[in-house]
């Protein structure tokens, strides 16, 4: 069995000096359109321990420095050499097109968080409405509760609009992007939006500078930009089911 870290373009990259999970040496397998970088695995399942996770990421990041185009694999992909060859053969065109798409590019992550001050204010208001003893009647309690919930909804809508404005400013600086809105009422730590942007290596500084500007222009939210990452969010979805024959 082999543990696969990433797919890259031909010719195979220099993998000297890179050690995989369990300190196993890195090797590669080539098809007619792509290269799969892997290390041997004794186990069919690799546990997501801290050490293994960091080693996976370390290998992928090392490859990112050596490969103009790289598709990182999800953690834990263990399969046989035969299966891997079959997948590369069947999906060679898709993989090649995806490598072309991410060539000379990296991924930058942007998270928009609601400020703690606003979170606490909303929480305080919500807790007040929950103190039934503070109201002289049930009607008064219900009115206060409705008002509090309306404030929360209005606040969420406001932050949602801010998120759209920020995204519209960043998207032109990227080749592609993904964006996920979170329900702030249920999310941990007030994460409003999670985004990923596919950015040319030569445009990283410009993108980061724009994030800084947007952070200054929008003091009601907190922007955190991380990266550069390998392009985890911009990989092909491979249909792994065997084609049926009628």
């Amino acid at each position: 069995m082999i543990y696969v870290y990433a797919l890259a373009e031909l010719p195979p990259p220099d993998v000297s000096g890179i050690l995989g999970i369990g300190d196993r040496p890195i090797d590669f397998l080539t098809s007619n359109q792509a290269v799969a970088i892997y290390s041997e695995s004794q186990a069919e399942r690799i546990s997501p321990t801290a050490e293994n996770l960091w080693r996976h990421e370390s290998v992928v990041e090392s490859l990112l420095k050596r490969c103009p185009a790289l598709l990182p694999l999800r953690f834990g992909e263990v399969l046989s050499v035969v299966s891997l060859r079959e997948i590369l053969s069947r999906h060679g065109g898709t993989v090649a097109a995806s490598l072309e798409r991410v060539r000379d590019s990296v991924e930058l992550g942007v998270r928009i968080l609601s400020p703690l001050k606003s979170d606490m204010k909303v929480a305080q208001e919500s807790s007040k409405t929950a103190e039934a003893g503070a109201f002289s009647s049930g009607r008064e309690y219900m009115c206060a509760r409705l008002a509090s919930e309306q404030k929360m909804r209005d606040s969420y809508y406001y932050f949602e609009c801010l998120g759209k404005i920020i995204h519209s400013a960043l998207a032109p600086l990227a080749q592609d992007s993904t964006r996920r809105l979170h329900d702030s009422a249920n999310s941990n730590r007030g994460v409003l939006v999670t985004s990923a942007y596919l950015v040319r290596r030569g445009q990283i500084d410009e993108f980061v500078a724009r994030v800084r500007e947007l952070s200054t222009e929008n003091p009601d939210v907190k922007l955190i930009c991380t990266g550069p990452w390998p392009t985890y969010n911009f990989v092909p979805v491979l249909n792994l089911k065997e084609p049926t024959h009628g």
Partner: protein, 71 residues
Amino acid sequence: MSLRSDDQELEQQVTLVELLDRLLDKGVVLTGDVTLSVADIDLIYVGLRLLVSSVEAVQRSRLDNSKAVER
């Protein structure tokens, strides 16, 4: 430019969450197994609190060269 310590801690935590989200829920899938995530990042974050703690404890020094970009 130095950040306040609470901002630094927040950025380190977010960076860890970003890393785990990518490793466990993104990237090319070859085996077709059920992904570890179920709904969204919040579930991942909550489900992996212990792992995040252990990762943070082991890799705090690595984060000195943090991937978090300064604001």
